[in-house]
Symmetry: C2
Amino acid sequence: MVQLDQQAAQAPILTRGSGPLDQALRARARRVVPGGMYGHLDVEMTHLPVNFPQFYETAHGATVVDVDGNEYVDLMCSWGPVLLGYAHPGVEEAVRRQAAIGDINNGPSARMVELAELLVDTVSHADWAVFGKNGTDATTACCTIARAATGRRKVLKATTSYHGSNPPFTPIMSGVTAEDRANIVEFAYNDLASLEAAVAAHEGDVAAVIVTPFFHDGFGDLALVDPAFAAGVRAVCDRIGAVLILDEVRAGFRLDLRGSWESLGIRPDLSAFSKALANGYPISAVTGTDALREAANGVYLTGSFWLQAVPMAAAIATITEAARTDAVGRMTTLGERLLTGLRSIATSTGIPMIVSGEPTMPKIRFEGDPEMRLANLFCGTALEHGAFLHPWHNWFISAAHTEQSIDLALAAAAAGADVVRAAL
Amino acid sequence: MVQLDQQAAQAPILTRGSGPLDQALRARARRVVPGGMYGHLDVEMTHLPVNFPQFYETAHGATVVDVDGNEYVDLMCSWGPVLLGYAHPGVEEAVRRQAAIGDINNGPSARMVELAELLVDTVSHADWAVFGKNGTDATTACCTIARAATGRRKVLKATTSYHGSNPPFTPIMSGVTAEDRANIVEFAYNDLASLEAAVAAHEGDVAAVIVTPFFHDGFGDLALVDPAFAAGVRAVCDRIGAVLILDEVRAGFRLDLRGSWESLGIRPDLSAFSKALANGYPISAVTGTDALREAANGVYLTGSFWLQAVPMAAAIATITEAARTDAVGRMTTLGERLLTGLRSIATSTGIPMIVSGEPTMPKIRFEGDPEMRLANLFCGTALEHGAFLHPWHNWFISAAHTEQSIDLALAAAAAGADVVRAAL
């Protein structure tokens, strides 16, 4: 069992969570924002512990601070973008330097070329790169490039895998038409037979298979990729002349800077990156192989802010620093400490908590808890004890975590486990 | 005829344009970016005067500077986002202040509420607001909300009107499937009969009509909105229970801060804003009426960077400053000076140049010039004389322009006109 940091384990217990300033902002928000919130947070505010704050003031390193001044050891990293820690000095300095020169203009800055060169040097399969703002911009571009290259229509994706918030992919069907989904075909992750069945059902019309580096979606447990599945997806795409798209938007740069399947020896044709690319600055990227260069050049990819120099400078600083400091290696070691600690807590308290996922992107789930009452009790209590642990979304480790901050999170988790055990 | 500023008219003529640093970056870009560029710039680099630079270094006020250090009076405003001028002190100060506090976090900051309140106070039809990054995020959200509210599928748009770079709307069909367009129906701008025909062809299935405040797309002339058309669109939507979406992404805040059709007495149900909202910082917004609040709350709207506090702080500063200084009024006066001057140049030189559009968003076109040879000669010459004038896209005035900078642009245009006249 992991040795908890003694100071962390003995830290005084404070009651923290949504306070009067957060509540006042919620009341104001309800008047001018439908439901008081949009997006995944809208979905989640109704599925979160009641003491979770909605509004935040600041953040540094591995710590977030809500509008009432409560500090939490953070394991969400702004839902992924924060890779090196909040307000990372090196990234912030690169941002200040570029902002003093220029950001948006009538065309790109030299940063666009430098960032594309850096991605080509860093990501093994990449011969070229193009840039957008949202992860959805990147996954959409991948699908469009694949269709342009193949002259086919169908994109095969794993059931419940999330690939974007646009109508073809959004997990909520309100306002989505059948036509929006007409060319999306589903198979089961880690199940080559189901992929083959989907291919057979649309023979000659499969433009692409889009897949995440591991299965990190849905309300069940996460699943590491079966290496035979990864190899099988590559073989299927090669056999039928379809494009293999690796959706790295969520996992990219938290498993392997070279590409998340590089250690398996599997390279995609296109990759979609976004969240962690610039440590929180808004940018996404598609990287691709020479075989798809002409198709990528022929499709229409544009947005009003897609040439901004500052997020590109932030991305250059983030990737360079992550490589220089072996951020993935350090995050993985800390993530393993977290996973080990969480599993020890579950075992020692006997609570039915299952921990799944990659060390840098773990997730918890309670058996027999479809309404997430136990998960919310666990995470609500952990929040009071100073750690932001999400009850049903995967967590994210950043390179700003330390053994001490992980142990603080584990101490808060232990307090949550005690309350869950008492409630059972 | 407008009186040209004497100093500007007598400014020394310098040869400017793509230089050795720009050429070197282009060569590097061709290796790591398909075609050396993506997006509208990719489309346009092959349709621009050969001396136009691709890469830019910095910008201030109404001036852009390319990587070779050439300065130009700018009439593109980064394709629209720059409303108050590049590096506007008030906006930059708001950005620095917010950046020192926080930007991305596990939830929104108070700026989200403040910006939504400001939009509700500023935009006449708005009862609420939600935020994204791209203009396309906003137009997509409008369509989804309209479909959710009505339970219908079809979105009616004007032929060649641009409403986003995603498959349903992109002007280039490479990689776009028929299904992506299955629910898009076209009519002719300013032509109520064609709108009625489109409605009749899809009776009972029209979710929305999406329309720009004036006709600002395509390779022909721009067209001001016919007030009877605007009123007719509103009446049709009311009659059939469809949602009227005003796509303000390009024109928003350059015609009227209250909404571009407010002076006509026509209010939309939903508006999509982006470009000028935060003076170049990446944000978009949907504003809507109470009748669509529930539908907006029920659809899935999210992106990794959609809660960033800094662009929201920039938007608050931009809108506040634009209102305080009557930016629209000042830009309109300067735009009229520009239009008058351009038309005088055309008349006095006899070149077949047609100037169309709103004063703050004008466009030039040469009669009998389908390959834009005259337009490129005109704008290439103007560039050498220090003004960035686009040969086929609409231009944008910012509030940082002055009579002197407009006159500098006119002096450059006059030089272009002389070369065109000599070539005819």
